[in-house]
């Protein structure tokens, strides 16, 4: 207790019972030996008790496992197509049946995971780097830089993600996973930039930042060591949700014929190919759609759970 608090005590003598009347109980003890809980430690404690987090984390682990080792779950080659075995229903050899080209649906669904996860993950990284950097600079430097960077953000924000990607995808001759990553990254960073800017502005005026400045830390050091670590939480949440959004975007582009070529095993491509057979073989559409939905769902749920855990107001309930 600070000294002035003690000096106040006489004037409020009867407001709180004197210490000698109600001695400190165990519950009032302050544990000074354990390390202080950080915001993240606190959030993690909340997370592991949240069933949404458990379910989504398990699903994500499953998705990651499948994308790393699809061959463990099927003996079929997803790129082996023979018309002689086209349009078959489920069988022991092909549990999900075969496509109009005679591909094994199960194998394609499993191997498609890798494409989607790769695109989603790397696009998330790229867009977070672009958006995070621009947002942090705009928020931290303020003034003229802020005005210019915010207008640039507005410009990209005004061009819808899918629209921009279609225009570019249509101009590129041989689309690869990496091109999709770059295209989606270039158009998908705006919400990260806005959130980062807002967070940095609110953090940079706090006392500990002022203190660092007073202690003579340089501006880049303050930005990197003090401001960003304290502003990054909402960015991480949004980035997790974005990952799911990018996976959907890749599938949509491929579906529209401006994404990955048919040679790559991708859920979007498989869904697109399944349309013509929908009347006779609806299950061909079902499996890749289902896999896509589960993957996206698990990332969005994870983002949700993390957001709740980081938000002290939401944590109470």
């Amino acid at each position: 207790m600070p000294s002035d608090a003690r000096s106040l005590r006489p004037r409020a003598e009867h407001f709180v019972a004197p210490l000698e009347e109600t001695p400190l109980q165990a519950v009032d003890a302050v544990d000074t030996t354990s390390a202080p809980r950080s915001m993240w430690g606190e959030a993690f404690r909340v997370l592991v008790r949240n069933p949404v987090f458990i379910v989504s984390a398990l699903l994500i682990l499953l998705v990651l496992f499948v994308s790393a080792f699809p061959g463990l779950l099927t003996s079929q080659d997803p790129t082996y197509g023979v018309l002689g075995r086209a349009n078959q229903g489920p069988s022991a050899e092909h549990p999900f049946g075969t496509t109009t080209q005679g591909y094994d649906v199960l194998a394609r669904t499993l191997y498609g995971t890798r494409t989607s996860v790769t695109v989603g993950f790397f696009t998330m990284i790229l867009s977070t780097l672009i958006g995070g950097t621009l947002g942090a600079l705009a928020g931290y430097l303020g003034g003229f830089f802020d005005a210019v960077l915010s207008r640039i953000t507005d410009i990209f924000f005004a061009v819808p993600l899918i629209l921009g990607a279609i225009v570019i995808g249509n101009r590129v001759d041989h689309v690869t996973v990496w091109i999709v990553v770059v295209v989606l990254g270039v158009f998908g960073w705006t919400n990260i930039a806005r959130i980062m800017r807002g967070a940095v502005i609110s953090v940079k005026n706090q006392d500990f930042v002022t203190a660092s400045t007073a202690l003579g830390a340089s501006r880049p050091v303050i930005l990197l060591k003090h401001v960003i670590p304290n502003a990054i939480a909402p960015v991480i949440v949004t980035a997790t949700v974005n990952l799911g959004v990018f996976i959907v975007a890749e599938a949509t582009l491929t579906f529209l014929g401006v994404g990955l070529p048919p040679t790559s095993v991708s859920w979007g491509g498989d869904i697109s190919a399944a349309q013509n057979a929908l009347r006779t073989q609806p299950m061909m559409l079902f499996y890749p759609s289902m896999a896509l939905a589960i993957t996206v769902l698990s990332f969005i749920m994870l983002g949700d759970a993390v957001r709740d855990a980081l938000d002290p107001k939401a944590r109470k309930r």
Binding site: Y80, G81, V82, L83, G84, A86, T100, Q101, G102, G169, N170, R171, V172, D173, H174, V175, G257, V258, P261, P262, T263, A273, Q275, N276, L278, R279, T280
Partner: protein, 551 residues
């Protein structure tokens, strides 16, 4: 060299067919799209409703090279000749087309022919229209059709002024003109039914853009209204006196953006004549439409080209390798399984319905038959001479309905020969064509041909002759074989059609050995008609003969 008005349908126009929708079951019959057109306002009977696509240009014959505008142009303009349903050439406006040497042609047109505005159709109407089409200053898409005529090099030069004319065209009198060609070409008259050679009235030249919106022609019909992206209403032309007189009260082209909608309307007889069936209904349309379904051989040839300069496909090893690839493709299975019998496996280089096309007796034609063992054997022989390097790629434009067959062809090659064979899509037709034209495209690429006029030569000369190579024509693979060129020339100079076909078949035998392109299949003419109409015949060029339909 000829431009195909159907080229766009081979290329891009059929994007809709590439399936973005489901079709209704033909049986439920309630999903009748948005109903038919409203063009049945004539007093005598109802207009025939036919499917169409929005013309890509104003309706000027010399500027129309795609099917959407082409079918309207053919209905509202008459050329010197017309084609019967089986591709025979008959005089329409012409009374006679004669030549002593196949180089200077004297064309007499029938007297008292009139445009729908009452002005006479004269020799001048043709000569002026052809001069208009040939002159670079007017930038008409069908310009190259006038290439055979003397003086083309002058009017097609970069700085040509609008008043320059073709020196080979001379008006003799009101109804006679002469055409001097740069060389002897015996099949010249058979080309003259193509839209580029149609006449224009004098009033057209004042404002060609306005004319194209409401054209005045000399055909069996005339344009009443053209509502963009919706419908084109044609009514019979009272001034028309030729052999294609309209047998119905009018013709309305209803513009469908999507073939599934069209199919729904067809099954419920909301549209009378349709020449397109969506992919999603290919397997069922013949059962669902019964007698009203049409599926017959058509004049479209599909293939893929392996450029001559591809290092993997050059020399003796290249020859063997081309044959191995060809024998590794199970054409029948693809036609059955993916196209449900709306394609017919190719047996030669000329589509059926054309005289001499669809022949099964070309020496060496067994190279088009699927044979796993033979394919492997040929490939092994090629490998012994020169090992294959890299992967085999087959390029196509993804905005057309090509992905599924390209994928199946590549799989067939891959599974048979055990090599990597990959489809390589180009997002848009433009880029695809540009790389082919610039000769920068590596590997094989899809190719196809729909004849502009019914002649076997049209399937051979423009595609494989030395004269059409190196960017001067449509010989995109730059195939050059003097022996083949000589046989073609002999065929063109032959006194009668049978002798000509003899020569053309001999030329095809050379192609069978060299395989400048790998023939795949002929696309059938397929479509259907409603229960309200009769006398529906599809022409040799897969377009219905609308004037003959009765309702």
């Amino acid at each position: 060299m000829a431009l195909s008005r159907r080229s766009m349908i081979l290329g891009t126009a059929a994007t809709g067919t590439a399936a973005f929708t489901l079709a209704a079951c033909g049986g439920n019959g309630d999903g009748g799209g948005t109903g038919g057109g409203s063009g049945n306002d004539g007093g005598s009977g109802e207009a025939v409703l036919a499917n169409g696509t929005e013309p890509e240009n104003p309706l000027v014959p010399q500027n129309t090279s795609e099917v959407g505008g082409g079918r309207v142009i053919d209905s509202i303009f008459s050329g010197l000749v017309y084609y019967t349903h089986d591709g025979k050439v008959e005089n329409e406006v012409a009374e006679s087309i004669e030549s002593e040497d196949n180089q200077t042609w004297t064309i007499k047109i029938a007297a008292d022919q009139k445009f729908s505005d009452g002005t006479p159709v004269t020799a001048q109407s043709f000569v002026d229209a052809w001069n208009w089409g040939a002159n670079t200053a007017n930038a008409q898409k069908s310009q190259s059709f006038f290439q055979p005529i003397e003086g083309f090099d002058v009017v097609s030069a970069d700085g040509a002024t609008a008043d320059q004319t073709l020196s080979g065209l001379t008006v003799v009198d009101e109804t006679t003109f002469t055409v001097k060609l740069v060389s002897a070409q015996s099949d010249f008259p058979s080309r003259l039914g193509y839209s580029a050679y149609k006449p224009l009235p004098a009033s057209a030249y004042d404002d060609m853009a306005a004319f194209g919106e409401k054209p005045v022609g000399n055909g069996p019909y005339m344009v009443e209204t053209w509502t963009h992206d919706s419908e084109i209403v044609l009514v019979p032309n009272p001034e028309y006196s030729g052999p294609r007189a309209a047998q119905n009260a009018g013709l309305t082209f209803v513009i469908y953006a999507d073939p599934d909608t069209l199919y729904n309307d067809l099954s419920s007889s909301n549209v009378d004549v349709a020449d397109q069936i969506p992919d999603s209904a290919l397997s069922t349309f013949e059962d669902e439409l019964g007698d009203r379904a049409v599926n017959e051989p058509g004049a479209v040839f599909q293939s893929f080209t392996i450029p001559q300069n591809d290092p993997n496909f050059s020399g003796e090893a290249g020859k063997l390798r081309r044959q191995a690839i060809s024998r590794a493709i199970n054409r029948q299975e693809i036609c059955d399984s993916l196209f449900f019998g709306t394609r017919t496996p190719a047996t030669d280089f000329v589509a059926p319905v054309i005289d001499g096309g669809g022949a099964t007796d070309i020496p060496g034609a067994e190279v088009l038959e699927f044979d796993e063992a033979a394919a492997k054997d040929l490939w092994a022989q090629a490998e012994a001479l020169q090992p294959f390097s890299g992967t085999f790629t087959l390029s196509y434009n993804a905005d057309g309905p090509h992905q599924s067959w390209v994928e199946a062809v590549c799989n067939s090659i891959k599974n048979t020969l055990g090599i990597e064979a990959t489809p390589q899509p180009f997002p848009a037709f433009g880029e695809f064509r540009e790389q082919i034209t610039a000769r920068t495209l590596k590997g094989a690429f899809r190719s196809g041909w729909q004849a502009d006029y019914p002649s076997a030569y049209n399937f051979l000369g423009p595609l494989y002759s030395t004269a059409a190579a190196d960017g001067k024509g449509s010989n995109d693979g730059d195939y050059k074989n003097p022996e083949f060129d000589a046989l073609l020339a002999e065929g063109l100079a032959a006194p009668d059609i049978d002798a000509a076909i003899e020569k053309f078949k001999a030329a095809e035998a050379i192609l069978m050995e060299d395989l400048p392109v790998i023939p795949l299949w002929y696309q059938n003419t397929f479509g259907g008609f409603s229960d309200k109409v009769s006398n529906v015949t599809f022409g040799w060029d897969t377009v219905p003969l609308y004037y003959a339909v009765t309702k």
